[in-house]
């Protein structure tokens, strides 16, 4: 599959292959002899946005870390586009909660870091930087340093940096946890715009039900990952998904309430409830 790094924006059509872009097969991860993940299985299709929803310490970030290759599964296997994941790579980009921008580099150099590592020319890097800053609403800020930006703008930069690397899957670990509510809602809408344009596949970790329902095509409500348990809930909201009016849509409110009640009940969760939207 020839991936045209130069024209990521034009790449609205991707091969709708049947093989899942991301697949977990009975993945387990133990830390200090304690199971964090056990027998976790799921698959993600191209262009899907999956929200991993659950309280702190439930293991949702661990899933992200396995996908990113920061940690290795102690049992089972994780695959990216059919390839076994055993280390970090540019096919899986991460947007960090802490931004993790390089303070000593300008916005332009941050965004095009992956191109620099791949030995691309200065000219090409400038072009990509310009396109990416325009895409995420950072146009004109190319020569600023991260510390000269607001929290929301820093995360736009973090997003553009990942987009420029053109990964197969984007991993977002509570990326908007540190920005104010208004900025967060704007950024959520822009994530959906970007996803629409680029056909990105996104794994999005959050503990906010609202955020999960607004963004996701499917929500994995994490109940007990140490026993491989989570709920797989499809989201069906009107297109365009980025429309702010969706936040007041009856389906949005109903699903939010449904998930809220499920998360609050002490009833034992069902293992991987498969809905019609789930791919297997």
């Amino acid at each position: 599959m020839a991936r045209d790094l130069l024209n990521p924006i034009l790449q609205t059509e991707r091969p709708k292959s049947q093989t899942p872009i991301l697949k977990f097969e009975d993945v387990g991860f133990a830390y200090d002899g304690r199971d964090i993940l056990k027998d976790v299985s799921f698959s993600v299709r191209r262009g899907e946005l999956i929200a991993l929803l659950g309280p702190s310490g439930c293991g949702k970030t661990t899933i992200l870390n396995v996908v990113a290759g920061f940690i290795n599964a102690s049992h089972g296997c994780a695959f990216i586009d059919g390839k076994l994941i055993d280390r970090p790579g540019p096919d899986r980009g991460v947007v960090f909660q802490s931004y993790a921008l390089f303070d000593w580099m300008t916005v332009r150099d941050n965004i095009t870091f992956s191109l620099r590592c791949a030995g691309k020319s200065r000219k090409e890097r400038r072009e990509v930087a310009e396109r990416m800053t325009n895409l995420v609403g950072l146009g004109g800020f190319e020569d600023r340093y991260p510390y000269q930006l607001s929290g929301g703008m820093r995360q736009r930069c973090g997003l553009a940096r990942v987009l420029a690397a053109n990964p197969k899957v984007m991993l977002m670990d509570e990326p908007f946890a540190a920005v104010d509510v208004q900025t967060r809602e704007t950024l959520q809408e822009e994530i959906l715009n970007v996803k629409e344009k680029m056909g990105s596949t996104i794994l999005f970790v959050t503990h906010s039900i609202d955020e999960a329902v607004f963004l996701a095509d499917r929500i994995f409500v994490i109940t007990n990952l140490a026993q491989g348990q989570y709920l797989d809930i499809p989201v069906n909201l009107p297109s365009p998904r980025s429309s702010p009016s969706n936040r007041l849509h009856p389906d949005f409110l109903a699903l939010r309430e449904d998930i809220y009640l499920r998360m609050r009940t002490d009833k034992p969760a069902v293992t991987a409830v498969s809905n019609e939207g789930a791919a297997k």
């Binding site: 990113a68 290759g69 920061f70 280390r87 970090p88 790579g89 540019p90 899986r92 980009g93 991460v94 960090f96 802490s98 993790a100 921008l101 390089f102 303070d103 000593w104 870091f113 992956s114 620099r116 590592c117 791949a118 340093y145 991260p146 510390y147 000269q148 940096r161 990942v162 690397a165 990964p167």
Partner: protein, 263 residues
């Protein structure tokens, strides 16, 4: 409002920075003028200025003062450049590669508490009384300071920055060059400032190792002959070089690590 307040605070800062040395000078003049201390122990500022002028006009020990300054600077800068370059390299590697850390751990920590004066007899035996032993003495001091600082800097790199670089396709060399090294720069710059001060103070000790050139020699020689005002003149020149180099390094540091303190 806040801007004028900040400007006022800055004015007060500059004012105090200028007044404090003048106050010391005032106490000095007073102490000598009132006869509280003898001139051979603490000469008056006027006498010290006379000695300074005399040194600049006629040299010291038959040699121009600029020759003394030149010799000392040559020793300090040679040791400083080589010492910091090697110290930074070894310290950074220690921060990232466990086996290199293991090699330098015990020798480094045993050497560090030894005062440079204590090494002088050994250095005379090993390297003689020429330039080499003087430079090596300053070098050891600079190297150890820079190694410790660069080591701490390399360890201070946020794990998320390294992870971000990995997911953007950086290899080990690129991560080291573009991520770990720049994030260690704040500590490295601090180290460079500390090491410059220490290098100048070890300079005097290093010039105990014989020779008849250099500011350290000048101070020691004047002290041997109870020419206290010349001792003070030498100290003032060394101190002035220290002040200028420290302020210069601080200025460079603010520009190199521009992101520091503004996050």
């Amino acid at each position: 409002m806040t801007k004028s307040k900040r400007a006022m605070e800055h004015q007060r800062y500059v004012f105090l920075a200028a007044v404090s040395p003048l106050a010391i000078l005032g106490v000095w003049i007073l102490a000598v003028g009132q006869g509280w201390v003898k001139g051979t122990i603490l000469p008056s500022p006027a006498v010290v200025v006379n000695s300074l002028v005399d040194m600049f006009e006629n040299g010291y020990a038959g040699v121009s003062i600029f020759t003394h300054i030149g010799y000392s600077m040559m020793r300090v800068l040679t040791a400083y450049v080589i010492g910091s370059a090697l110290g930074i390299i070894v310290g950074m590697l220690r921060g990232r590669i466990a086996w290199i850390d293991a090699i330098f751990l015990v020798p480094g920590e045993i050497l560090r508490p030894i005062p440079p004066l204590g090494m002088i007899p050994l250095f005379i035996l090993w390297f003689g009384v020429g330039e080499l032993s003087k430079i090596i003495l300053i070098f050891v001091c600079v190297f150890l300071i820079m190694m410790v600082n660069a080591h701490a800097g390399a360890l201070a790199c946020p794990p998320d920055s390294i992870r971000a670089a990995q997911t953007l396709g950086a290899n080990r060399r690129q991560i080291f060059l573009y991520v770990i090294f720049p994030s260690a720069l704040p500590q490295i710059m601090t180290g460079l400032r500390i090491a410059m001060g220490s290098a100048l103070s070890v300079l005097v000790a290093s010039e105990l190792l014989g020779g008849d050139r250099g500011l350290g020699f000048l101070v020691l020689d004047a002290s041997n002959f109870f020419r206290t005002s010349y001792v003070f003149s030498g100290i003032i020149i060394i101190g002035f070089i220290g002040l200028v180099s420290e302020r210069g390094l601080a200025w460079i540091s603010r520009r190199v690590v521009h992101w520091q303190g503004s996050r």
